[in-house]
């Protein structure tokens, strides 16, 4: 037994501004803290303030800008502010989803960092009563030639698979990109989607005084202490030393926790529930207290930390409150349901203890070894956290990229091969084959068919959700406002391309240090661009996560606001995928090719341009996006098409290549029916938006053209599905072939890069 009096003396020692700084509390925040508290905090209290006021928990730099997002429409049941967003999908059911980053931990310890990222986002979803039905991940790594990249890819992928596969939730979609800008700060964003009945949704809010606080799941250990604070600071060389602040995941316990919680949720035992994520017991208890009360007026909490199940001996109140041990939940139960709840958790061999109760004091009171070690008002911790209007400057505008300065490529086939095998475009089979995409038996389409969005059936029904993740950081770096619009519009296009009605998004905003006005400018403008797109497309933001301070040694990552989109499919027989093209189908091109080369894949990979030289990204006309997407969706709904692909990175050339590879069918594309720029490269590789390529049965062609004419949408013949080659022709009369690639060669290039790279020995 340790000497408790010495521990207690340390825990209750009054702290000073200097110790505040060591906890990441800046001088002005210290003043604010002491004023609100009316005294200096002790060590436990300072620890609690430091995590609650960290960027990670308080969103103090982004809050005022996040309020620009549209977050409501007729379908939104719960927008941002709870564990995850909730959307009405009809028939009394709801989709519950969120995306969250685990960037810093994944760089330090890739396997556990990525694994616990998956675990954390799953808990956000099942905390609300949803059974998780799909996982998606958005990954960004450094340059492939950087010495750390290969091991980071291997570790992150193994960690995501190790956790998701074991928990038994299919990983159905994702994106992986490489850029030197992420060399010292990779991005691991994980999204989970769950399904619940609308009358069985659980919230953190609503706990009333006098009820037991119930702790369930894993025991608390010393892992992850101050993880939230780490995630709110810049990196520097040697930060691998922070490895002990990375948590260790146990997907087996998570699986049991899911089953036990859903079993308990089927009863009426739970008044409020919150998972223990960042800042563990601190944030979960504070958030439930702050949003407690019949009218959300806030309540108090008293907890006896000696009752918290502990993995190690001699843990102090400070450590218990700041531990980020995984697979733990905090609930407020109705008093007469404790025995029943304990019986359920006992069935699954999980720890479950009453560790305190809710009160009407509005204070967070903690005792250890029989003595009060913390007694602070709850409100200043949460609502009253700092909320900064960080100074920012308008990001510089870039000139339009003038393509005429560059020679036309000698061989367009070489360009297609190069683009399709570059790290961003090459097949990610090596990654997704390590993920169980099929467990739960509802996966209708996944990464397996290279699709625009995954399609997951709503169990036992004829409906499905379409799920995608998107961001083009090159566009955002070139123009954050247009790039932000594009990220949302891309998700909207991807969902529409499979026949789904886009209904809502979650976002994961990854940026550098917000205290630098130039970086803050990108944050502000990207949010404003995204907000504008969400508003016009009626595509509200219902949940999200902000990850700032993604910098190493003063250099920020490329601005990367990732969008996770959800769409609803009312009838699974009315969908389109990439793999559906059939022999002798007609290719139809929808949209307008309006010469946009800025920040394009062609400019980066073929012309070798970087940074400023890449020019401005393609502008987005949101009304046109909406019009074209609606048109395409209707065609799918009416059964007129076999396969659809939106045109994005690498333009029509890469869209056609992907369509051909997914269906295993050759294609011949007539360039003049795509665009009429005098530069052939422009027509082939331009990334103008709101465009689609479709394979349709010959019998549909006339009807599609007629509908296009009626709506003043350019939709017409641009080629055919035939043979074993990808062919691009010009001057259809003479049918000059400007490129002719055997599908086998294209496949080899596309499939070869990643496995070859991963199998090279350093």
């Amino acid at each position: 037994m340790p000497d408790t009096s010495a521990i207690l003396a340390r825990l209750t020692t009054t702290q000073t501004a200097k110790e505040g700084v060591e906890h990441g509390i800046k001088a002005d925040e210290w003043e604010r803290l002491v004023t609100r508290l009316g005294r200096e905090p002790n060590l436990v209290e300072l620890g609690i303030y430091s995590v609650m006021w960290s960027e990670h928990c308080s969103y103090k730099s982004s809050r005022r800008h996040l309020s620009k997002f549209p977050t409501k429409n007729a379908r939104v049941i719960q927008g941002p502010g709870e564990n995850a967003g909730v959307i009405d999908i009809g028939d009394g059911q709801a989709a519950i989803f969120k995306m969250e980053s685990h960037n810093h931990p994944s760089y330090i310890e890739p396997y556990q960092g990525a694994a616990t990222g998956v675990g954390g986002i799953l808990r956000d979803v099942f905390t609300m009563g949803a059974r998780p039905i799909a996982l998606v991940n958005a990954l960004r790594f450094g340059d492939p030639s950087h010495p750390k990249t290969r091991s980071l890819v291997a570790g992150v992928v193994a960690g995501i698979g190790g956790y998701g596969n074991c928990v038994g939730v299919p990983t159905v979609a994702g994106e992986t990109q490489f850029d030197a800008g992420y060399n010292g700060n990779i991005l691991v964003n994980a999204m989970a989607v769950g399904l619940a009945d609308q009358d069985k949704i659980f919230y953190a809010r609503g706990a009333t005084p006098g009820n037991p606080i119930f702790y369930v799941g894993s025991k608390t250990g010393r892992d992850g202490i101050h993880g939230a604070t780490m995630a709110s600071a810049e990196f520097s060389e040697g930060d691998e030393e922070k490895r002990p602040t990375v948590q260790v995941g146990d997907p087996f316990t998570e699986k049991l926790l899911i089953e036990a919680c859903l079993e308990l949720m089927a009863t009426d035992a739970i008044q409020a529930i919150q998972d223990m994520g960042a800042a563990g017991l601190t944030s979960s208890s504070v958030e439930m207290a702050a949003s407690g009360g019949a009218n959300g007026e806030g309540i108090g909490v008293v907890m006896d930390l000696d009752k918290v199940p502990q993995r190690e001996e001699g843990m102090t109140a400070y450590e218990i409150m700041l531990s980020e041990s995984q697979e733990r939940m905090l609930m407020v139960l109705y008093p007469d349901k404790i025995d029943m709840a304990k019986a359920i958790f006992d069935k699954y061999d999980l720890s479950a203890e009453v560790i305190g109760e809710t009160t009407d004091t509005g204070h967070l009171v903690l005792t250890q070894f029989g003595q009060v070690v913390c007694d602070i008002p709850v409100a200043p911790l949460a609502e009253d956290a700092p909320n900064y209007d960080r100074p920012w400057i308008e990001p510089p505008k870039r000139a339009v990229l003038d393509i005429s300065r560059f020679p036309e490529p000698g061989d367009y086939g070489d360009v297609v091969l190069k683009l399709m095998s570059c790290p961003d475009m090459a097949s990610k089979r090596w990654i997704w084959e390590q993920y169980d995409r099929h467990v739960m038996n509802d996966t209708l389409d996944s990464s397996q068919s290279m699709g625009n969005a995954a399609i997951v059936r709503i169990h036992g029904t004829n409906k499905a959700l379409a799920i995608c993740s998107d961001c083009n950081p090159h566009y955002v770096a070139a123009d954050p406002y247009e790039g932000g619009k594009q990220a949302v519009a891309e998700a909207y296009r991807n969902l529409s391309s499979v026949g789904a009605t886009p209904i809502a998004i979650t976002d994961n905003l990854n940026f550098g240090n917000p205290e630098k006005p130039a970086t803050m400018g990108y944050i502000v403008k990207a949010i404003e661009g995204m907000a504008e797109a969400c508003r016009v497309l009626d595509f509200p933001v219902v949940s999200g996560n902000v990850s700032l301070y993604n910098e190493t040694d003063g250099v920020a990552i490329p601005p990367t606001p990732v969008v996770g989109g959800i769409g609803l499919i009312e009838d699974v027989s009315k969908i389109a995928t990439l793999k559906g093209a059939e022999k002798d189908d007609v290719l139809i091109f929808v949209g307008d090719t309006t010469g946009q080369f800025g920040a394009s894949l062609f400019a980066r990979e073929w012309l070798g341009l970087k940074g400023e030289d890449l020019g401005s990204p393609p502008p987005i006309d949101l009304e046109i996006e909406k019009k074209h997407a609606t048109f395409v969706r209707q065609l799918i709904h009416d059964g007129l098409v076999h396969a659809v692909h939106d045109v994005s990175d690498g333009g029509i050339a890469c869209a056609a290549a992907e369509l051909a590879l997914a269906s295993g069918m050759g294609m011949t594309v007539s360039i003049e029916d795509i665009g009429r720029d005098k530069a052939t490269a422009m027509n082939l590789f331009c990334e103008a938006s709101a465009r689609y390529l479709m394979a349709v049965p010959q019998s549909s062609q006339a009807e599609i053209v007629r509908r296009g004419n009626e709506l003043s949408i350019n939709a017409g013949w641009c080629g055919s599905v035939q043979g074993d080659y990808l062919v691009f022709i010009e001057e259809p009369v003479k049918a000059r072939k400007v490129a002719e690639l055997p599908l086998s060669r294209l496949r080899e290039a596309h499939e070869g890069w990643l496995p070859n790279y991963m199998n090279e020995v350093d």
Binding site: C166, K347, H438, M440, D445, Q448
Partner: protein, 222 residues
Amino acid sequence: MKTAVIVFPGSNCDRDAQDALAKVTGKAPAMVWHKDGTIPSDTDLVMVPGGFSYGDYLRCGAIAGNSPIIEQLTAHARRGGYVLGVCNGFQILCETRLLPGALMRNASLHFVCKPQRLSVESANTAFTSAYAGRDTVTFPIAHHDGNFFADDETLDRLEGEGRVTFRYVQGENPNGAARDIAGILSENGRVLGMMPHPERAVGGNEGGLDGLGVFESLVSAA
């Protein structure tokens, strides 16, 4: 045909098995919790589902192989009842010695999930009769430890007695399994363990339809 599915902590294909059995037999299987559950005495087929029982800790299937329910499972098998173990279920059946051999880590050391072509080695079993006339079928696979191993004597015997039901199509072995073995039978032909997932290929999803045959064969055998 009356069926039951054993559920271990960490099983995650139990619902998939339940749905597939309900679809083919028209009757919901009994879902039997490993700790205190009972396999109904008139059960024809017990399915041991895939997943990560006990987190695959110690060794895949090792802890589940010592769970309280195993006694009932072996009694059912001794009586000549049908048992189908898929993926983690196969690993568990090897641990209980209802089937010979062991499943080692995939030769690639990676988890692998993909559509897998299998050759049907014999359509003359209770689990494969519906595949008469078909050389190959495609089932989804999803495992980290599917590398079947047994000594040469055992392998010779399995082959000699016609107890290899499925092999990975030559040249497409995804895990390094000895002699491309994907599924094997017990001596009495009533217990089948296999790494590929027939329950994920009964229609309505990315897995296709080829798995139906396993369940249809059982329905006509039972």
